[in-house]
């Protein structure tokens, strides 16, 4: 089934090739201008003396990839659902809805892997963080975990909301959360202590902290990784139930 879903993703990208390509190239440049450049001037004393370029690189990559993922998930699970397109026909096929959603998530992850590689290349040129190949390899699984978590949040929001205005508001909130409250750009030390502690212990915060710990001190916290993985699996399971309920409604 994954191949069928991947073929569909390919068709969609092919049908909107220039829009997707344009977005993929413009978005990293735009975020570099509005986030990286001002923050570089703002942060005079970087935390733990890590060069700003290196510190911000994984966060910026994640933001772009999450932004690229939003239309894919929203379109397939919110837009098509509220307009009663494709999903009713899909509900009548002989496949299980849970299996479909599970495969849908994998397809989205495969698609975002491609985006991640492209965005990493673009930012390596734009920001020039001075990473070696091993650094990129360390970063990759963490980014993937973050994306899987983000995809699950997006899937849940796309499935539970029926009103377009509310959905748009939630997407904006989600985006602001990813940019400002997940540790991608702003370190938790900069928040008031209580808020910083709450954000730090959220799965998104945990993954970002582990990523930087692995990248800058070479320590991999397997417990946090395992915890994130379990959260993602459980969340996917819950989303499968939700999807099934929404489609049979």
């Amino acid at each position: 089934m994954i191949s069928t879903l991947l073929i569909r993703r390919y068709w969609i990208i092919k049908n909107r090739f220039f829009t997707t390509l344009g977005l993929l190239l413009i978005l990293p440049v735009f975020l570099n201008i509005v986030i990286n450049l001002p923050f570089k001037r703002l942060v005079v004393n970087p935390l733990w003396n890590i060069p700003h370029e290196q510190w911000i690189y994984p966060g910026l990559t994640i933001i772009v990839v999450v932004m690229m993922m939003i239309p894919s998930v929203s379109r397939d699970l919110f837009d098509l659902r509220i307009h009663k397109k494709l999903l009713p026909a899909l509900a009548l096929t002989s496949i299980s809805k849970s299996v479909y959603l599970y495969n849908f998530l994998i397809t989205i992850l495969i698609e975002t892997i491609v985006y991640t590689i492209l965005v990493m290349i673009v930012y390596s040129i734009l920001i020039a963080p001075g990473f070696v190949v091993l650094d990129y390899l360390i970063m990759f699984p963490f980014i993937l975990l973050f994306i899987a978590l983000g995809a699950n949040i997006l899937i849940t929001l796309s499935l539970i909301v029926d009103k377009t205005t509310l959905y748009n508001l939630l997407m904006l909130t989600f985006f602001l959360f990813i940019v400002f409250a997940s540790g991608t750009v702003i370190e938790f030390e900069y928040f008031p202590e209580v808020i910083g502690n709450i954000l730090r212990y959220l799965p998104t915060g945990q993954i970002m902290q582990s990523l930087r710990m692995a990248l800058f001190s070479g320590v991999i916290n397997w417990l946090i990784l395992l915890g994130a993985l379990v959260t993602i699996i459980l969340w996917t399971f819950l989303n499968c139930i939700l999807f099934k309920k929404r489609l049979t409604k």
Binding site: L80, K84, K85, L86, P88, A89, A91, S94
Partner: protein, 309 residues
């Protein structure tokens, strides 16, 4: 005849309102059933959705080819094709991409699928439409494409919710001709607001009213049982009651009425008129009118009698 679909006390509630009330009946294999609803709340769409598998009944059981619709859901899905009233194709893909995507989730022989797909593309004259993005196609073309999607899987049961809605005259005729060519080859259940079409294309008609089946038979039998096939109106120069009393006793005459100088009666065949005529020797007739009843007359008569309209 073997049953294709069997309803056993099937009921459905939507927002606490009964839309289907304990339906129990069967539909024979390879028969064509036309359904009519007398208003928006007749439960017709829900009835089609339940057969298609989009809704589960709140109570009762539904069997498709002898298989329980809930317990054997996945097996049943390969048997049914459903053309909904609203287009359900992904607007960002072409029609062919949509069809290929959905059909890839069914367990069907690929060679057979391609064969049928090509056949129905020609039959529905869709060659030039399949590679166009769905959001650029007309609603009528989309209905034909949805029909193509469902027929290419070679379903045993085809459920159609107003199959020719939004179509132009040419496409309507093309579609009905294709559906007529499938008569007796698969079970077809369709709703339509065109009573002319229903009249000429059915083995059985179900008339829904407030979630219940109000009428269930073919048109011929319905007319026979309800009002006769013909209505005769004879106008006399002078129509006396003794003559009317004689006419009332004519064999097979239905509901004779005397309205001043006019005699109105129904019958199932025209020979009744000849029998009446034998009693009219020496009487001056000023006008005779023969009307053949249609489905719309039956429905109108039925609903006027029941006080529904």
């Amino acid at each position: 005849m073997e049953a294709s679909i069997t309803f056993k006390k099937v009921g459905q509630l939507i927002d606490g309102r009964t839309v289907l009330a304990g339906l129990s009946f069967g539909i024979e294999r390879n028969s064509t059933v036309a359904i009519i609803g007398d208003n928006d709340d007749s439960g017709l769409t829900e009835f089609l959705r339940i057969i298609a598998g989009l809704s589960d009944p709140n109570y009762g059981s539904l069997y498709i080819h002898g298989l329980d619709s809930i317990k054997r859901r996945l097996e049943i899905r390969n048997l049914i094709g459903y053309v909904p009233f609203e287009n359900d194709m992904d607007p960002w893909l072409t029609a062919e991409q949509n069809i290929n995507f959905i059909n890839s989730f069914y367990s069907i022989n690929n060679k057979k699928l391609i064969e049928k797909y090509k056949y129905y593309i020609d039959a529905l004259e869709l060659k030039e439409k399949v590679n166009i993005k769905v959001n650029k196609l007309s609603p009528g073309a989309l209905r034909k494409l949805t029909l193509l999607r469902e027929l290419s899987r070679d379903p045993k049961i085809l459920v159609l919710d107003h199959p020719t809605a939004f179509m132009n005259a040419k496409d309507r005729s093309l579609t009905w001709n294709l559906l007529r060519s499938l008569h007796n080859k698969l079970t077809m259940i369709y709703s339509s607001s065109s009573l002319n079409i229903i009249e000429n294309f059915h083995d059985r008609i179900l008339v829904f009213h407030n979630g219940k089946i109000d009428l269930d038979n073919n048109l011929d039998n319905m007319l026979k049982n309800w009002m006769g096939h013909y209505q005769f109106t004879i106008q006399f120069e002078k129509f006396l009651t003794p003559l009317f009393n004689k006419i009332e006793r004519v064999q097979d005459i239905i509901s004779p009425i005397k309205k001043e100088q006019t005699l109105i009666f129904n019958a199932n065949n025209r020979s009744v008129l000849l029998r009446v005529m034998t009693l009219l020797v020496g009487v001056t007739i000023t006008d005779i009118n023969i009307k053949r009843f249609h489905l719309r007359d039956l429905l109108a008569a039925r609903y006027i009698r029941e006080g529904i309209v």
